[in-house]
Amino acid sequence: MKALIWQGTNKVGIETVPDPTLLLPSDAIVKITSTAICGSDLHLLDGYIPSMEKGDIMGHEFMGEVVEVGKDVKRLKVGDRVIVPFNIACGLCDHCTRGNYSACDNTNPNHRMAEALYGAVSGGGLFGYSHIYGGYAGGQAQYVRVPFADVGGFKIESNLRDDQVLFLTDIFPTGYQAAENCNIVKGRDVVAVFGAGPVGQFAARSAQMLGAAKVIIVDRVPERLKMAEAAGIETINYEQTDVLIALREATGGRGPDHVIDAVGLEAHGHGPGALMDTAKQKMRLNFDRITALRWAILSCAKGGTVSMPGVYGGLVDKMPMGAAFAKGLVFRMGQTHTHRYVRPLLAHIEKGDIDPSFVITHRATLDEAPELYKTFREKHDGCIKVVLDPWGQAVGKA
């Protein structure tokens, strides 16, 4: 089959590799009909998530048709149309039974690596996201092995198109969890979202769905801000104004009640902190550039929430802990407990509350994926979200 392979930092390519096979009786093989490139894949491309190995198959937002099931698979059968959350959960451990699927104790075969890097205990495995997270082959490919298939394979029985349900695998639940983590008081709370990429877009719309009185999104890319404006979200372009002052004005000096950092470890931005971060990150002295997180802390209202769906990988410097403490902020973060949200958010889509395909700007074939990684990273051509057809013949962008 064809698959997108991590060939080293800044290098991905399409290679022909063996088809996946069942390795355990609880596995299924899924023929992928749609797959997407995630903003967090760019952290892998750029080499900021440790423990990638040359030859790894990337991709963690995919859906398709079950073509083979192991003998212990009970809920799925060949021919089922499924979406598969990006995290792998056993469904049986204490964390899974409490709904904290991304904290699964049992699905990361490389738990020891994660423990060595992060201390304590590791979270669950992820598809196509480095060996610390289990080293599972990803889904930017024609087929994928889905371990724990009964837990991770969600049947889609309605007539919704792939592009309407595909983002239930990651970015929609990720944005939604980020908003839910803010415990928004309906009709009262103002929410600011840093980063108008795909997760930021879903976080902002989720905050609206959860009843925020006002949602403000901060970015510098005009087409991203425009996409949010279309949904009635206020926008701030941080390259054209001082973001902290603009947020004070927008909230009568209180600051947003909750702030969502949908940027993570590769923040742009300016000022001495941002410059130091960039210099150190280039020298691999620290992993993370945290401009968005600093702004989040500095802008947030007293007693508010800093919710972080953006990915962090290592150590941070110059984090304004004094400000966070003085304001009594609550921090919420971590990988999304995707499984928890698939069914309720699918119901929202079926009811027509939201059509997640709004975020798609580029459609292409898998063969074109390496090119589109660059387009997406450079934010060229208005690129916000790329959906790939692993079986299509190259015809160019939609």
């Binding site: 698959a3 392979i5 096979t21 390795l23 030859g55 075969p109 020891r112 599972y136 082959a137």
Partner: protein, 284 residues
Amino acid sequence: MTPNQSGMPSGKRLPAHGSAASFEDPLEPQASTTGASMTLLERGVVAVAGASLAALGLRGHPFARIALMGAGIGLSIVAAQGKNPLATALKIQQDPDTGETLVSDAVTIAKPADALYAIWRKLDNLPQLMTHLQEVRVLDDKRSHWTVKAPVGTVGWDAEITADEPGQRIAWQSLPGASIDNSGEVIFRTAPGKRGTEVIVRLRYKPPGGTAGAVVARIAGQEPSQQLRDDLMRFKREQELGFAPTTEGQTSGRAASEAKKLAGKGEQMQGNKQRSKQADGGTQ
């Protein structure tokens, strides 16, 4: 229940209320220091080496003299302090009183204590649970013969059960004359909030070759604390899932070259795969 006699580590007993120990019962921490005190013999060897280097440094090229004197003085300081500096760097844990090396870890498993206890109490299961063991042969209701894989061949000794509290704790200790003096215990406690059972394993041993032996073993990759961590996670997953998660044999851009490598090397990955029961004692 057998009272604790004959040199079992003291102060590790759980108060026995009812049948299952609870998370509320205090578990006395083991006395432990990071690093390892060298034996008298080791200190002597290091002191002699230090003095010899320093003596050599009394003549010869000035640079060589500085280097030799420096190294000699350094070793003399190490001998005087009596701490193996490599053991400290490698965070080897040692009982400050007995000089035994300590290895311990814990895991919470969503199964009742009695069931987990029963698996451990059947001593011939232990090689399935702890990778370093090759075989435990039960001799009678207290005594057993243990075999471990060693860098060359195997090493064996007789051991006896020194405490057996059903559903709560099992302790064992090698009998006098063992090639490696060692003891261990496994403690089962009900976790709070119906989360199953806390399983705590504590091993202690006198490494052959003193602190140098412990350092060599760790550098050579026989890392007992990591091995125990892997063992406990494997046990948890076997109990909770019935199998170990794996990616071994999955496709990748390396698949062609990996298949060749695997065919050549046989199974070598740890932790991902059920160990073959006939594992031959010489490999690893």
